[in-house]
Amino acid sequence: MIDDSPLLRATGVSKFYGPRTGCLDVSFDLWPGEVLALVGESGSGKTTLLNCISTRLLPTSGSVSYRGRDGETRDLYKMTEAERRFLMRTDWGFVHQNPADGLRMTVSAGANVGERLMAVGHRHYGDIRAAAGDWLSRVEITTDRLDDLPRTFSGGMRQRLQIARNLVTNPRLVFMDEPTGGLDVSVQARLLDLVRSLVTDLDIAMVIVTHDLAVARLLSDRMMVMKDGRVIESGLTDRVLDDPQEPYTQLLVSSILQV
């Protein structure tokens, strides 16, 4: 079914760091359930753009609007700080490249997941603990680790815990910044498969930043290629990768090493 209004709309988003350009005049629509990959090399502006559209960084100009569960579309930067924070806690998720940035390392795995539920009003200890246990098993962490600190987890487990913490509130939109960066290849494959199946089953929209075109192909419906802060090519993921039009995209695609 085709929904007739976008979930998130970015219009002319630019961010300057003094004289330097972070991202320049980026516009796009994200539809419910759609997975959009932002690709490009380091310094191309993809993380700046991700931060601008997820209210983590105030853009220099442009606007970002979001359609809430009530069906109303609001300009994110005209909301109050409290409203934005509520949105981040309930309707959105943000998965950081480094799990330590998205987890509380000094509380247990169960509390990391349960905390998000408490933030949206859950009060019953038994229910919260049960939900946390359920989510740990969905991300393939055995429930006997519920009371352990994330510090005792491997890198791949920490990343899966961060994903559970983000998905437990049943968000409609998740932002991911290089979620597999720094993980070794077999751990990456497991994480990617997990993300792919969760996103499909729960019908979550996602914006994922990656420099890895294989990750983009596996997870995304659509991609935008960034260079020097601008979007230089966008389209259906398999079209961009199989028939790249722009010189820079052709260079990126031809630089993939075949195994």
């Binding site: 659509r222 199989d242 028939d243 039009q245 052709q250 031809s254």
Partner: protein, 234 residues
């Protein structure tokens, strides 16, 4: 009955920016229409652009000029200019594609690979899986493979997973890129039967078949792709 798919004056070239912007024209003024219940076959020597035509129809290749009009649930959509999400909707509901190569996802079993397009169309898990198993049974895929991920399968086994996935749905248009390339005679005959059944169900098919026997058995019309060769620049 409405024409399921119409190709009008489509041209395609590849510009190689890493080779000083060299442009290679591949196809020019491609025009044909598919008919419901008929199988059209793309003919011509290799390298003439047969696969490129299928890929353009599926939205996998960009198109320079022209229109590719598809009847999508009663609406006419031009694949050349459609938004990505419209193309995804066309792929889900209207145009199916059986390629020579299987995109293998880590840890997903063969039966789930094949059931997936049915799940996307709202069929429940149990029915989708049992339909997938019926397809495997017809295509003589050994039962011990059904619940394994196809990454380690042989070429012919992967091909059969691909065929099962492509034929399991009731897409009104089906594109076939050498579906019998790595199959033995018994399984080629199964594919010929599957194509006949699709025709009976009024599906419009467009295929590339290098195997002359299969081509003779299924083709209702031949489209000579050499006729769309761009004129050679002096």
């Amino acid at each position: 009955m409405a024409t399921p798919l119409l190709v009008s004056d489509v041209s395609k070239s590849f510009t190689m920016h890493l080779r000083d912007g060299m442009t290679i024209p591949v196809l020019s003024k491609v025009r044909f229409a598919l008919e419901a219940g008929k199988c059209a076959v793309l003919g011509g020597p290799s390298g003439v652009g047969k696969s490129s035509i299928l890929k353009m129809l599926y939205g996998n290749y960009a198109v320079d000029n022209g229109q590719i009009l598809v009847n999508h649930k009663g609406d006419l959509i031009d694949i050349v200019t459609a938004e990505p999400r419209s193309i995804l909707s066309v792929r889900r509901e209207t145009i199916g594609y059986v390629s020579q190569f299987l995109q293998v996802l880590p840890r997903v079993s063969a039966v789930d690979v094949v059931a997936h397009p049915l799940l996307q169309r709202g069929v429940d898990h149990v029915t989708a899986r049992s339909r997938a198993e019926e397809m495997f049974d017809r295509l003589n895929l050994p039962e011990k493979l059904w619940h394994l991920p196809p990454a380690t399968f042989s070429g012919g086994e992967q091909q059969r997973v691909n065929i099962a996935r492509g034929f399991i749905t009731d897409h009104p248009v089906l594109l076939l890129d050498e579906p019998t390339a790595s199959l033995d005679a018994v399984n080629r005959a199964v594919v010929v039967d599957l194509i006949r059944e699709k025709k009976k169900h009024n599906v419009a098919l467009l295929g590339i078949f290098h195997d002359a026997d299969v081509r003779e058995e299924v083709a209702d019309m031949l489209i000579d792709v050499a006729a769309f060769a761009p004129e050679l620049a002096a």
